[in-house]
Symmetry: none
Subunit: 233 residues, 4 copies
DNA sequence: AATGAATGAGGTTTCATTCAT
DNA sequence: CATGAATGAAACCTCATTCAT
């Protein structure tokens, strides 16, 4: 039972937070509105004072998350002009964000398929901004002779793929702290983009390379259930 | 309408093929057994002559696909010893496969979340083989001084991320033919792995780098519907 | 058609009443939830606001009926000490109850087979109380030299068999009014239990013994259908 | 898989035997034709070479059982004229039959409710013969001054109720061997019928009456499942 | 006779959604 | 705002029955 005095805004925030967690754990289709309602102390009928319907809820959730991300990213990139610095900032933001808001990062990539065509178009438009920004940076870097790639579009995709890995994989936090992660990914991305300084002069990090691989394990989800979103390729 | 007494094997193959397509388009949860049955000309109850239940169908589908992949991959790798050649073979196999069997490639990574815990464990075990093979190759290459990476596990993941991109992105086929694609990805992967020869001596391919980016567009799905599985990050 | 928002308790009572009637007429397996819902003016899905599932509904129905019976019986027996009086009270209660609540009396003995093993155990436990009470009384009577039987358990069963006959047979009400019925059964039971006073000094009741037999006929059930639960041995 | 050479008659017998067992264990509604077919080594479609349909199968099963019973009974009663002897013979036949063919005895009383109205009428007609025979004997005995009852019809029913008890109760065979059982029931029935000689001069059988009651226990059915037909009043 | 593949009706159950209270 | 009771569509699944082979 909700406490008295919970205002519309507060309840809605709680619903969104619960929605993110539940969609992350079960997927949009498998999450029922009863589950959602119960986890904020409401009956399912009462949800309709806060959301229009299930689809609209997903749409707004994804939209808000992505818009916030774009705003945050643009703030980081705002005063940088050098492509290398921009890529660094981009990687730092991206990886950190996935580290901190794993659920959000996961659902915005996995639940688009559940949008209606119209809603999909809107979200897709927003989401292209990220892709566009990377392309822009890469093109910029190529133009200045800092990066060397065969195809800007394909390279941008590859960069995004590497960056979004952590949303799909679990890295054991004890082994790989955030800073190391960013460092490793930065190196790989710069290499991939053909930045000469990073070419082949790596010193293996911390421990023997052969052993750490085995440490990357899927983490169990709630209630002994495997976290359902593990990328298992 | 299908005849009484038609052949089991044929019908089951049709069901599997339709299942792959429908899961690819709508997702497992959103695909109904009515849809599946209708698309092979059966009533929904008739499916149960061929499948145990919906969950079991997904399980067998994923299992068969992955086992076939593993077998095909092992055949390709069988007689190669040099890590560089192995990576090349791996990339070639992987990208070609995604090009040719996009649907299969997509669902084995996206529908694992819909498996029951027990089935998930089985599929997860199989699927780790792929990851393990890449790690093995990378470790091998590092040992021979051919690759230079900070962390074998993380590098293997990055390689897999780059390779599996095409399962999530649409590359316009007119622009990027398969061979070019393989070449570009191979180069990026070798760079990422620190192979000296690939470091920074790229000659841009065919056309002007700035324009090709715009060509990478989502493709429309069936019936004017956007293909719902686009990776939209 | 039932209104939205009508009262829970009332609806559930209606469902139970309809359930008793339908199970009595068709049997639990043959009663569909659609039938049950329709007969209280609901859609079948709406039942699930009141019941957990079909099995659970049967379980609660039987449990409630039996518990009410036990409570009612114990009230009747409460202040009696003499075994003869107790048997009289028992017979009176039992026969009257079957006369008034034929459906309930029938289903608690005929539908146990449809319970899951766990539910069966619970109901069986409750239901043994009745049997136990009869045994107790008989044993008590034997100890005081009022009854003479070869085997208490077997006699108790025979008594129960005679008593529960009316739940399986139709006695034409015009012929045999309740009080006569009780009297006749009481006499037979006391004879069966070896009470000397009842041994062989019967005066035939009211009418000629030869003719009344033909009066015992199956009664037609609803819609010209024979009541399906007639005991037909 | 059936052996070669199984003839129509043999297969049909096997189906009937399996049907009796399965209906006894699960009930007619809960027995599926697949179960029935499998338990005689057939596929369900093949049953239709031997039965018309499920309802007709039940009908013929019950009919055959009852007709055989009537024939057997009439043979026993054929040369007896004394009502006391006839009752004795009846009891002996009835109890022995239930002891030996428990399944048959059970289903002919419990599955009538699953017959269509038309089939029910037929079976009901047959089954009345038993009841009629008891009434005839009782009336005969009353006329000769051997029995004394208030109402022939009610007494006949009570006798039948006592007799059919063993089809619903489990008597532990170790404790109560068939002969003892018959003896006890005969005594109770004669008492109930007012035969002076049996009135109140019983000597408790074998063991102390107070203890044997507890020995009458429900027996577990197949696979740890409680035998589903236990009479649990 | 037997089988395997199919039908089609219908069963139980779930769930987004509505609305009187 | 919130709830509890309801709808109604549709989901998964079962099963008696049919029929080409």
């Amino acid at each position: 039972m909700r406490q008295r005095g919970s205002h519309r805004a507060g309840t809605f925030s709680a619903i969104k937070a619960a929605g993110i967690r539940l969609i992350y754990e079960h997927g949009y289709e498998a999450m029922t509105l009863r589950m959602l309602a119960r986890s904020v102390g409401l009956e399912s009928g009462s949800l309709y004072y806060h959301i229009k319907d299930k689809q609209d809820f997903l749409f707004r959730l994804l939209k808000e998350i992505i818009e916030a991300n774009i705003a945050a990213l643009d703030e980081k990139l705002a005063e940088l002009d050098d492509p290398e610095e921009q890529i660094r900032a981009f990687i730092c933001f991206f990886i950190t964000h996935q580290w901190e808001k794993k659920e959000e990062a996961f659902i915005i990539s996995s639940e688009v398929r559940s949008l209606t065509p119209e809603n999909y178009q809107v979200i897709n438009g927003l989401t292209r901004s990220f892709q566009d920004r990377v392309e822009e940076i890469v093109r910029h870097g190529v133009a200045r002779g800092k990066f060397r790639v065969r195809n800007v579009g394909v390279a941008a995709i590859a960069v995004c793929d590497v960056l979004s890995g952590p949303a799909r994989w679990y890295y054991p936090k004890e082994l790989l702290v955030l800073d190391e992660m960013i460092e490793m990914i930065t190196e790989m991305v710069f290499r991939l983009l053909g930045v000469p300084a990073y070419a082949a002069n790596t010193i293996p990090l911390c421990r023997n390379a052969a052993s750490s691989a085995a440490d990357i394990q899927p983490k169990a989800g709630p209630a002994g259930f495997p976290a359902r979103h593990l990328w298992v390729r």
